[in-house]
Symmetry: D2
Subunit: 317 residues, 4 copies
């Protein structure tokens, strides 16, 4: 899906597939194709109808890796992958690649819908895996804290280490509950827009939770924490990946905001609905019209008292 000039934004994709008799001819570049180096076939998203927008104009194709014209230009690694040049994410040139008509996956123009269907679940899946990875970091952090001695006693006795433990537990527990909640909403068939908002929300949290807890775990492991002898280095390098895979954090944060803001209507006039001068005036007007509304004799308060009291509250904000 991803292209070098367009990242994960489909509206910038340039790879084209053109119908030629019983075949499709694919031409273009794809970037960060996972596991291409060892794959028997590739799935390619290409524009088949440039006249309409990308949400309806792209199609998906199944392309055997050994099809003539498929060229892996570089096998790019994620940071920390061992051997340069043999990484797991390929830059591929599709140079007039011909596949038979039945290589089309789903219908023509269906690529975006297919991808979106997978992406929602994929994001929840990344969040769930992150619950696991972050738990592993927390476990390492805690085991180290109760095992490692300094001149003043166990690390577990130091307040900064305790803060690391507490903050990590709190962050992870909140995240876990939110992920479970989203999964439950999906199962219940809740309002798809609310579900999309909340999937975007856990996607925003995913890299941050993994990052923060792993950072603290590394710190209490000292030199060992930054070595290649603990799984912490791998988790540390995974955290920023989680902020980009299936869309960057900035895009998901904006999605959340847009959905939340849809629930609000603009106020009329210059002042907010909670503007205190307006609320005091409204209260005065209300009790002036119904002086006996609250049985002032019984409670010993007149309507004027009530208005004054509200005004006092306003005074104290």
């Amino acid at each position: 899906m991803t292209e070098p000039q367009g990242g994960s934004d489909p509206s910038l994709f340039e790879t084209r597939a053109t119908r030629d008799g019983d075949e499709w001819v694919i031409e273009g570049w794809k970037f960060f194709t996972s596991n291409a180096r060892t794959a028997a076939f590739l799935i390619v998203m290409a524009v088949t109808n440039p006249e309409v927008d990308v949400y309806r104009g792209m199609s998906m194709f199944l392309v055997p890796t050994d099809t003539p014209g498929v060229r892996i230009v570089r096998n790019i690694g994620l940071m920390g992958e061992r051997v340069p040049g043999s990484g797991s994410h390929a830059l591929i040139h599709y140079d007039q690649v011909r596949v038979p008509a039945e290589s089309l996956l789903g219908g023509e123009g269906q690529a975006f819908v297919i991808a979106q269907t997978r992406l929602g679940g994929g994001r929840v899946h990344h969040a769930m895996r992150t619950v696991g990875m972050a738990s592993k970091s927390l476990d390492m952090l805690c085991e180290r804290a109760v095992s490692r001695r300094t001149r003043d006693g166990l690390l577990a006795g130091k307040q900064s280490v305790r803060d690391y433990v507490a903050d990590s537990y709190i962050q992870l527990t909140q995240f876990r509950l939110f992920v479970l909640y989203v999964a439950w909403c999906i199962d219940q068939g809740h309002d798809p827009r609310a579900v999309r908002r909340d999937i975007a929300a856990i996607k925003v949290l995913t890299p941050q939770v993994l990052h923060d807890i792993t950072q603290r775990a590394i710190q209490v492991h000292g030199a060992l924490g930054v070595s290649d002898e603990m799984p912490l280095g791998g988790l540390w390098m995974t955290a920023p990946v989680m902020g980009l895979v299936d869309g960057p954090t900035e895009v998901h944060r904006t999605s959340v905001a847009r959905q939340v803001l849809k629930g609000y209507t603009p106020v009329e006039g210059l002042w907010p609905s909670q503007h205190l001068p307006g609320r005091v005036a409204a209260a005065r007007a209300k009790y002036a019209a119904h002086p006996d509304a609250l049985g002032s004799a019984a409670v010993g308060w007149s309507a004027e008292d009530l208005a004054a009291d509200l005004e006092h509250e306003v005074g104290n904000q």
Copy 2:
């Protein structure tokens, strides 16, 4: 309960109550007694048995405010309360205050138990109120965002405002779920230690959630946000109060950590249980002893392959 020299730490309390015939004689200072200025009676926590620790040596007394010897030295306000000298939290000197024996609340030495019983629920209560207060801030933030126009259009169209909305929604939703979860655990009669851990956890979050969301709401209101014409100022001043009431954040954070760390046992020897060289060696040993364990013929993998593969994974951390 609070004393000027001891804050909320009962082990530093100095107010004494001594039995004298049918009466108790109370002597000492109390600080931040809520609503003393308008109260008909006061509840006083005093040491009745200095021989034992505070958890068993303090008792609670009901003291009518007009008892001779009760002197409100200053009516202290919270920041932002309007009239200096007439605040809602008194500094009180109990100068040889005599109350009848039946003023004792609960049994002798029961003060700590009574207070703790209330405090757990009280902390959940503060958390729940904070869900409400922070929701109110979020509502003001969003209403403003969709109502206020700048030269480039609505505030709701600006990415930094959207970030404020998204981050606030995410923070509040997580917090709300955690508070609900804790309340549910209490209702279900879950393990009291786990419940105490999680009450402390939401107590740590409470001031932070209110603070962060209110800060963003103030910022999008501009001058109006820092004026006394919006409820935002009051919420802003309440946020740090939430970090101190019923115990400071630092104490609760430590409580969380202590409970979490109880679930871990120290590792034997120098290296963590997840130390990769040890895990590789263990895998090698395991598969060396059972060369055909996985039906290597069928899957095409020898035991040596498996060990190499694990080592490779280790290599990639």
Copy 3:
């Protein structure tokens, strides 16, 4: 300057001043006019030429407060100001207010230039005052830390309090150095654009430094810290004001970025200039062309060795 519908954005100002014989007639609303309640005269920024942009179309006028048509609609307080209705920042209606021609300050259309001249210095001034206010918070924090005893000894012995002290000292020292540096650049007559960038930078830091240090100082003071008996409450309420006065933080952050980004030119082609495959290829090409450039015999390295070494460095990133 500020207007209720436009905040501090001059392009949205609506107050007009129209020439009528020897007089100017001012019509419009102004918001958050400091100290209007006790001022003998007001300075009003009004559109005098709506045909040109605001930077050239606004003028400043000196208006005696008792001029007919000047009406203070509300005396708005900052949060925490004591008496509602008698705050220090007025909402004023200028209803056909007539002033003589000589009330014009500077020339016609000069308002923006005059305001900008003051604002640069004003922002540095706020930053310098904040150095003082934050120092005061740090002093209170440290005095409390070395004075207050808990059951485990002085607060100064607790790691979380020490972290508060260290982080506050570090934050304040950095900020102080930056403010001094900016003042020095102004004195030296450095490039005005660089100076504007750095004035905006310290303006962004100002509310944050005051906020963070004051928050920590409040926390170690316990109940006293949130009471009205310490200057901390006032500083706490001043922090968000500093994020809005003379322009909101968001605007200044954008100014900084725009100036910084002006120093960069786009790279040609798809890949960044630091893209490692390109750098390796360039090194290979260079040393292939000059195989003996580095006296490989003497140092024992061939050009091929050098390229391999660079590639290795690239491998290790």
Copy 4:
């Protein structure tokens, strides 16, 4: 220096050197010995006098790597180093290693002094290198921002990217000024304790500045940022190293706090020196004793007015 059980805390070091005729016999384990794999000699810090504290009881030795008894047990890599088992930081067992008497570096018992001398400069050196590395990250961030196009235009036009740029510039500029200031203080021969405090301060900042700016640069590079084709991955893995090398952040933060707190003396009595009730009482007392002190006739203010005014200020905090 570092030992596996003791990290960087010399008081926990166990490696011993015992005099035997004209030789020293070294026995013990050392961890994270940089570049041991390719070194001709090793520098070993060992306890020579266990009767005194480590600051006077350790000595330094120069040990040829091929001395019998020197065994590199594992060549540990930093995270991301390419080939497992050939890393740059060795775990070494010194098994009855004999070196001649003249292998002693400096005098007996001088190891700590020698190490400290180097470490101060070493920490400033790491800070300076970090100014360079973080600048490189900022350059990559900015170049990408002005080069990469999305459907809405350049990344440089997006507010979140601008925030990344501005925050990075501000953080780096402050850090650079602080590092320069510390270097200048060293050159000027300022008070060594103040210098140590400030060296610790920039050591605390070092990993954070590198981390924050690199994180933002990675994010705007998308997939490329987490690949092994940019120098960003290497910088990302260096950031946590900077939080541990030459002592963990927690230790340096405590050093800063201890030095800062030495400048403060405890207040007498229960209330802070800035306690407002006390300040008001003091002002009243002062002006009561000198009713004409300020020439009240001339300025129109009586002593009573002044006390009231101060009280009012107190009222407004």
